[in-house]
C-alpha cells in the first residue's frame, strides 16, 4: 500500500513535470535522429558515395592518362580534371569552391618516371632469368604526384585515398613492366588480349561480419546508433531523478516524511521503480523510432535482435544501472545545481570513455582500462552483442554481470550515505 501510494505520487509528479519529460524523452529522440542522420551522411561519403577528386595533369605522356583511367575504373572517385597549367593555389581554390576534399597534381615527369621504373624492374627480372636486359638508371627523387587534402578529413579516409592512388600507380607500372618484359623476350609488343588477361584483377574478398548465431546480421549506422543513444537517454534520467531526490530533500515535505512512521527507503524504492519504467519506455520509444520513422527519413530501419527476451532483460538491467547511478548522485548532491551539473557532465564523460561517442577500438590503452569502469560501456557491449552480433543472453552474460555488479555497488554507496545522514 505504502509503496503503491508512493509510486503513484512519483508518477503523478513526473507526468506534471513537462521539462523533465522533454529532457527524458524528446531530447534523446532528437539526438538519435540528428546523430544518426549526420553519421549516415558521413558513412555514405566513406562507404556508399564516391569521393570527389580533383586532378591537374601536368604530364603530357600516355601513362598519366592511364593513371587517370585506372583511378576512374577503381570506382572510388568522382574525377574532375582542371587545366594543365594550373598551379597548386588554383587547385586549392577550386577544391574550396567545389567543396572537394582531395586533389592531386600529376608531375610533368610522371610518364617518364613510370617508364624508367618499369624498364628497370623488367631488366632486373630478365637478369634473374639469366637473360640480358637494358640497365636503365632509376631516378626516384621526384614524387609521381602531390596529394592535397582538406585537413578536416579523418586519418582513415586519408589512408583510403592514398591506398587507392598507390594501387592505381601500381596498375600502370605493372602494365608497363609487363610490356617491357614481353618485348624484350619476344621482340614484339604485348597483345592487348594477353595484357588484359594478365592484368585482370580476380581478387575477390567475401565479407563476413562476426555473428554469434551464424545468421546474417545487419550492420549500418542505425544498428550502431540506436542502442548507443538509447543508453545515453537512459542515463540522462539523472537530470530528473537526481533532481527529484534533491528537491525532496530540500523541500518541507522531506521534514514531514521524516516524522512519519515510514522508512525513506520506501521513497527510494518507489523512485527506482518509477524511473525504471521511464528507461524502459525510453527504449521502446527510441527503438520504435528506429523501426518506423527512420525508413521514412531515408535512414536504414532498425532491426531488433531475434532474441527479444534477451533484449528486454538487457534493457531492464541497463535501466536499473542508470537509475542507481542517478539515485547515488541525488543522495550525495546538496543542491539542485550540483545534481544537474554533475549529473549531465558525468554522463557525457562516462559515455565518452564508455565508447558511445568514440569507438572503443581507437582509444589508447590507458583509456581502455578506464572504459571498464563506465557502466555505459557494459550497456553498449550488451546491446551490441544482441543488435550487431545476433547473440543471446549467454553471449552477453559477462556484460550483464558487470552491470549488476556496478548497480549493486552504486546502491550500496547510496544506502550507506543515507544511513550516514540518518535518513533510513
Amino acid at each position: 500500500m505504502k509503496l503503491f501510494a508512493t509510486i503513484l505520487k512519483d508518477v503523478r509528479i513526473l507526468l506534471r513535470d513537462k521539462m523533465g519529460l522533454i529532457l527524458m524523452f524528446a531530447m534523446p529522440v532528437l539526438l538519435v535522429i540528428i546523430v544518426t542522420d549526420i553519421q549516415s551522411s558521413t558513412f555514405d561519403v566513406v562507404g556508399k558515395n564516391k569521393i570527389d577528386l580533383l586532378i591537374c595533369n601536368k604530364d603530357t605522356g600516355t601513362l598519366s592518362k592511364e593513371l587517370i583511367h585506372a583511378l576512374d575504373t577503381a570506382g572510388m572517385f568522382n574525377l574532375s580534371v582542371i587545366q594543365q597549367n594550373a598551379n597548386d593555389k588554383q587547385l586549392a581554390d577550386e577544391m574550396h569552391a567545389k567543396d572537394i576534399i582531395a586533389g592531386i597534381i600529376i608531375n610533368s615527369s610522371f610518364s617518364k618516371q613510370i617508364a624508367a621504373k618499369a624498364k628497370a624492374t623488367a631488366s632486373k627480372a630478365l637478369s634473374s632469368f639469366g637473360l640480358e636486359g637494358d640497365t636503365a638508371s632509376l631516378d626516384q627523387r621526384t614524387a609521381y604526384f602531390d596529394l592535397y587534402y582538406n585537413p578536416v578529413i579523418q586519418q582513415s579516409l586519408k589512408f583510403s585515398i592514398k591506398g587507392a592512388l598507390t594501387s592505381a600507380v601500381q596498375i600502370v607500372q605493372s602494365k608497363e613492366t609487363l610490356k617491357d618484359l614481353y618485348f624484350s623476350i619476344n621482340g614484339k609488343p604485348l597483345p592487348d588480349s594477353l595484357q588484359q588477361q594478365l592484368l585482370e584483377n580476380n581478387t575477390s574478398i567475401k565479407e563476413i561480419p562476426l555473428s554469434s548465431n551464424n545468421e546474417n546480421v545487419i550492420l549500418n549506422v542505425t544498428q550502431h546508433n540506436v542502442p548507443a543513444w538509447t543508453i545515453f537517454a537512459m542515463f540522462f534520467v539523472i537530470m530528473s531523478l537526481a533532481g527529484s531526490i534533491v528537491r525532496e530533500k530540500l523541500s518541507g515535505s522531506f521534514i514531514r516524511l521524516k516524522t512519519l512512521p515510514t522508512n525513506y527507503f520506501i521513497a527510494l524504492l518507489s523512485k527506482q521503480v518509477t524511473y525504471l519504467k521511464v528507461t524502459f519506455l525510453q527504449a521502446i520509444l527510441i527503438f520504435a523510432i528506429g523501426i518506423f520513422i527512420f525508413p521514412m527519413m531515408g535512414l536504414p530501419a532498425l532491426h531488433l535482435p531475434h532474441n527479444i527476451f534477451a533484449l528486454i532483460i538487457v534493457t531492464l538491467v541497463c535501466g536499473w544501472c542508470a537509475v542507481s547511478y542517478a539515485m547515488c548522485v541525488g543522495v550525495f548532491a546538496h543542491t539542485l545545481e550540483q545534481a544537474n551539473a554533475f549529473g549531465a557532465v558525468s554522463v557525457v564523460i562516462l559515455s565518452i570513455i564508455g565508447g558511445l561517442m568514440i569507438p572503443s577500438f581507437i582509444m589508447p590503452d590507458s583509456f581502455r582500462s578506464l572504459m571498464m569502469l563506465s557502466p555505459l560501456h557494459w550497456c553498449l557491449q550488451a546491446y551490441y552483442g544482441l543488435f550487431l552480433e545476433g547473440g543471446g543472453l549467454k553471449d552477453v552474460g559477462t556484460n550483464i554481470l558487470s552491470l549488476l555488479l556496478i548497480t549493486v555497488l552504486l546502491q550500496a554507496i547510496a544506502l550507506l550515505e543515507l544511513k550516514r545522514k540518518k535518513l533510513i
Binding site: L8, R12, I255, L257, K258, T259, T262, I266
Partner: protein
C-alpha cells in the same frame, strides 16, 4: 485526561561546532493541554520542537512522547503524533486529495480510512471545491489549510504546530484556530509555537517562555500574568526576554 503527553528529562544538546543550546532541560506537558512555546528568534523553540519530533537526534537526556521514549521507538512514536511544520510540507504538483492519499498511506492508514478522513477534513477546512486542483495554484491561506490537513489525517494524539497561521488572512486564521480548538476538545494535545502572541492568548492554556535555551517561565497564562503583573502575553514576553534583538 490524565498522564503526560511529553516528558523531557535532563536534555542537553548543541549543534556541531556550536556552544551548548540546552543544558539539563526539563519540561512536562499534560495530555489534553494546549501548550504554547514562545521565545525570541534563536531562543531554541524550533530546535526543541525538532528534538521532540525526532527530526534531530540527541545524546544526553531523554524525551518521552505519550510514555514512549523517542530515542528507542522512533517509528512507533511517529504514529502517535502529527506535525505541521512552518514550511509548506507537501507536494505542490499534487492536488490536496493526492497529497492526503500519499501522506495518509505513509501514516499507516488504509485506503478507506484515507477517503473517510480526507472527505471530513476537506469539509471542515472548506477545501472540498478545490480538492482536485494542483496546490501550487492555491493562495497562502489555502496552502496552510492543506498543510494542517496532512498533519492531522491520522488523528494523532499529539499535534506539533510550528507557526501554523503565518501569512494568512484573519478569516483563515480564525478558521484554523477554531478547528484546532475543536481538535483539542476531542483529546488531541496541541504543542504550538508562534510569534502571533494575541493568537496564542486565544488558543493556549499553558505557556512556556524560552530564551537562550532555558525555560524562563512556565505556567498557565492567567497565573503568569498575575505573577508578573502584566496585562497580556506580549507585555510579559518583552518584560522577560528584553527589548534587544536576539537573532544577531
Amino acid at each position: 485526561m490524565q498522564g503526560l503527553a511529553i516528558k523531557i528529562e535532563h536534555l542537553s544538546f548543541h549543534y556541531k561546532d556550536q556552544t551548548q543550546l540546552f543544558s539539563d532541560l526539563n519540561l512536562s506537558i499534560d495530555k489534553g493541554e494546549r501548550f504554547g512555546l514562545f521565545g525570541p528568534n534563536g531562543a531554541g523553540k524550533t530546535t526543541l520542537m525538532s528534538l521532540m519530533t525526532g527530526l534531530i537526534s540527541f545524546t544526553e537526556g531523554n524525551i518521552q512522547l505519550l510514555d514512549h521514549s523517542i530515542k528507542t521507538k522512533n517509528k512507533q512514536v511517529n504514529k502517535l503524533f502529527g506535525f505541521v511544520p512552518q514550511d509548506f510540507s507537501f507536494y505542490e504538483e499534487l492536488t490536496p486529495l493526492e497529497n492526503l492519499e500519499f501522506f495518509g498511506a505513509w501514516s499507516d492508514l488504509n485506503k478507506q480510512e484515507i477517503i473517510k478522513r480526507s472527505t471530513e477534513l476537506f469539509e471542515i477546512l472548506n477545501l472540498t471545491s478545490v480538492k482536485n486542483k494542483q496546490v501550487r495554484k492555491f493562495s497562502g491561506g489555502m496552502k496552510r489549510k492543506v498543510n494542517l490537513a496532512i498533519g492531522v489525517i491520522h488523528q494523532p494524539q499529539l499535534l506539533f504546530l510550528d507557526e501554523p497561521t503565518v501569512g494568512v488572512d484573519v478569516q483563515t486564521r480564525q478558521e484554523i484556530i477554531n478547528y484546532l480548538e475543536k481538535l483539542n476538545e476531542t483529546g488531541t494535545t496541541l504543542i504550538y509555537t508562534s510569534h502571533q502572541l494575541n493568537e496564542a492568548e486565544e488558543l493556549c492554556n499553558k505557556i512556556a517562555l524560552i530564551d537562550e535555551g532555558k525555560i524562563i517561565a512556565f505556567d498557565t497564562l492567567d497565573n503568569l500574568l498575575v505573577k508578573y503583573n502584566k496585562e497580556n502575553l506580549e507585555a510579559l514576553f518583552v518584560d522577560l526576554t528584553g527589548k534587544t534583538y536576539k537573532d544577531q
